[in-house]
Symmetry: D2
């Protein structure tokens, strides 16, 4: 198990352009949070789809690394996302990820994405990461 | 049919943070291109997944708008992407989109994404947009 | 809310070739079960993928109809399924579905599929149904 | 390369319950065809979703085996399908598959599914197979 602090430091070093905070990790799960600003919006005053996709992808990455250690080269092989409701333009987005398979070469997880203050999720994703072989 | 120039101007106004150029549109298809810089890379020296997802999403959007007109409020409802090969870190990414359904309320297209100079695609996506009703 | 008995009768009338039983419905959720026989197997002595896809699809259908009533013409528009582990060839398959969106025109749910006696799921699906307009 | 006749014999032995014919194989592609009867229909007088999913899955399997040989234990790991239009209830269904990646451990392909006599496709799928290691 990798700690929240180790993961936070790793994420800041490896992905400095992605400004996300890790709220909790543990038991094949993680919750991450992103502050939304005007760069993340699209016409209609809502958070753009690609921002939600990035959050889903990073939530999966953080959850997998929390289990297997800081393996930077784990890569997404598939992501499927459904956009469910329009997020608020002035609330944080947070995402809860839960792994449904953690094998030697593949990990699969589902991510539920919320706009802070709304009861129902704004998006739901399922993704697969390939885990590089241990040398 | 919306022209390439109209689409380019629209994209620059509505999505100024997305730096993409439209290479061609027509016949329910479009090709778009993005210059890659170090902000788009991830560990392993390759283009990050979320950058490819954004390109897939915008390629669909451009192709749909080229057919239905500049309806800013068309929104993605589903996107499924497979990452196939590692893109080069110093080549443009370009994406070819082709609609497979253009209904009154839903449009579905597939997108093949290339790293310039590689023969085989680096990713493949299929996505659905909801088209807002005409008032 | 449609009752379990009403749904069972409806399913037997409309889909006589699909031999499934409904274990429970309620609160935007349902659990269904299917007895596996040799017609459902594939090389390697496991339940075939298409059988699991059918179970996922019917679990979604049953859960949606339990909420909106016996609308035979609701149709699947998208299904995404991940196969996680090899099911046992001589155990029932059961599936738990939970809706994550129930709109006027679209319903989206996720389905976790188990092989009876195994703790971990054998497959996970997310699907969308289009709900026909009320006349 | 495995020939059409070898594949047909293999399919009949390994999947006797699946009544499909192989129309052509070659160049990382294949076309298969299925006769539709009343067992394949659903309310609304159309071919049921699970029948189309099975055709997509088998089309991928046949195309992959045509390239790698008769490896019965190749298994689907992911399938994503969009249903585009209502197939005719009294026409054959045929499916054209094309591989977009053929790696050592994973193969990914897309499948376009038609109802004979209709110009536009009735469904489109993308799927991944895991290829077992050679001993």
């Amino acid at each position: 198990m990798t700690t929240k602090n180790e993961l936070t430091k790793f994420l800041q070093n490896e992905f400095p352009q992605v400004s996300l905070s890790i709220e909790s990790v543990g038991d094949r799960s993680a919750t991450i949070r992103k502050k939304i600003n005007h760069n993340h919006l699209r016409p209609g005053g809502t958070v753009s789809g690609p921002v939600l996709m990035e959050i889903a992808d990073v939530a999966l990455y953080v959850t997998i690394l929390s289990e297997i250690g800081l393996v930077a080269l784990a890569v997404t092989t598939n992501l499927n996302i459904n956009f469910l409701r329009k997020p608020s333009s002035d609330s944080d987005i947070f995402a809860q990820c839960r792994l449904i398979k953690l094998g030697k070469t593949l990990a699969i997880g589902e991510v539920t994405i919320y706009s802070d203050g709304m009861a129902e999720p704004v998006a739901h994703a399922v993704g697969t990461y390939a885990i590089p072989p241990v040398n």
